[in-house]
């Protein structure tokens, strides 16, 4: 029989909140990356546009990594 009392434990609920927030945050960083790529097509500067796209990409990867890390350790 499944023990549902586990679901009502504060630590579990907190973990759930953390994971939901981190998931939404990862999507937000994906939107940022997408917007950087869209705007780089509108205004193109030789080097700066590439640097900004790389920084936004690293930020997205960091957010996804944190989400996966949180699933693993929380």
């Amino acid at each position: 029989m499944v023990d549902f009392s586990l679901l009502l434990q504060p630590t579990f609920l907190l973990k759930l909140v953390f994971l939901i927030v981190l998931f939404l945050y990862s999507i937000f960083t994906l939107v940022v990356l997408h917007q950087v790529r869209v705007m780089n097509a509108v205004v193109q500067e030789t080097h700066s546009s590439t640097i900004l796209a790389i920084v936004a990409g690293i930020n997205f990867l960091a957010a996804v990594s944190l989400f996966i890390y949180a699933i693993a350790i929380l």
């Binding site: 927030v21 917007q35 930020n59």
Partner: protein, 217 residues
């Protein structure tokens, strides 16, 4: 007997476009390399915009003055330094807020906190970086980018520009020589506003010379 009427063959009238000397000089400027955080550059080299025609040359590239970024840079710096300072000056701070939390949650929370600051910096930088204006020998292009999901590209021909003026109010603006340039047009979009751009007087002069309204000499 003297001739009363002597028809003379007239030379055909010249129909070539008369290019004002200043406009010609403006168009034929030497290309300059644009550096990463440039706010004002005439004849920039290494920058293009969407739908730029092959024979279209950018005469003026504008962005908000870099000094307008100081408030968010200051805020981000404070947020970055806040946790270490709190730990340094209030050693009991972790116990007050995180005593009931397991260590793994605290670790994830702080990584998340710094990632949010990074995203805040990226979004603020994007808002400054992509809000650009271009003046070419044919038209004015105004790229607006705000709130991450909104961007608008407005274009008007130079022939539709009616009036340009600028305002430079306040100590900071006078000190760093930046202000707002307003371009009135007869096009669908009536106003082109270049806000907080460096050297507003020079911008107005350049646009007025391009439309043939500048002072001669």
């Amino acid at each position: 007997m003297p001739d009363i009427f002597n028809p003379q063959t007239k030379e055909p009238e010249k129909t070539q476009e008369v290019v004002p000397a200043k406009k010609s000089a403006l168009v034929q400027g030497k290309p300059k390399h644009i550096h990463h955080l440039a706010s004002f550059c005439d004849h920039p080299d290494g920058v293009r915009f969407e739908n730029q025609q092959p024979d279209e040359q950018i005469l003026l590239f504008l962005r908000r003055h870099f000094v307008t970024n100081v408030p968010w840079i200051f805020l981000a710096s404070i947020l970055l330094l806040l946790p270490p300072l709190l730990f340094l000056f209030f050693p009991t701070f972790p116990d007050m807020f995180f005593s009931s939390l397991p260590g793994t949650f605290i670790r994830v929370f702080f990584i998340f906190y710094y990632l949010v600051i990074t995203t805040f910096v990226i979004v603020e930088f994007m808002t400054w970086y992509f809000n650009t204006s271009f003046v070419t020998q044919k038209r004015i292009v105004d790229v607006d980018f705000s709130d991450l999901l909104y961007h608008d590209v407005a274009v008007t021909k130079l022939s539709l520009v009616e009036e340009t003026n600028y305002t430079q109010v306040g100590f900071i603006r006078s000190l760093f020589n930046y202000g707002d340039v307003y371009v009135q047009t007869a096009a669908e979009k009536l106003h082109f506003d270049f806000l907080a751009v460096p050297q507003p007087k020079r911008v107005v002069d350049i646009v007025q010379n391009l439309i043939g309204k500048g002072s001669r000499g």
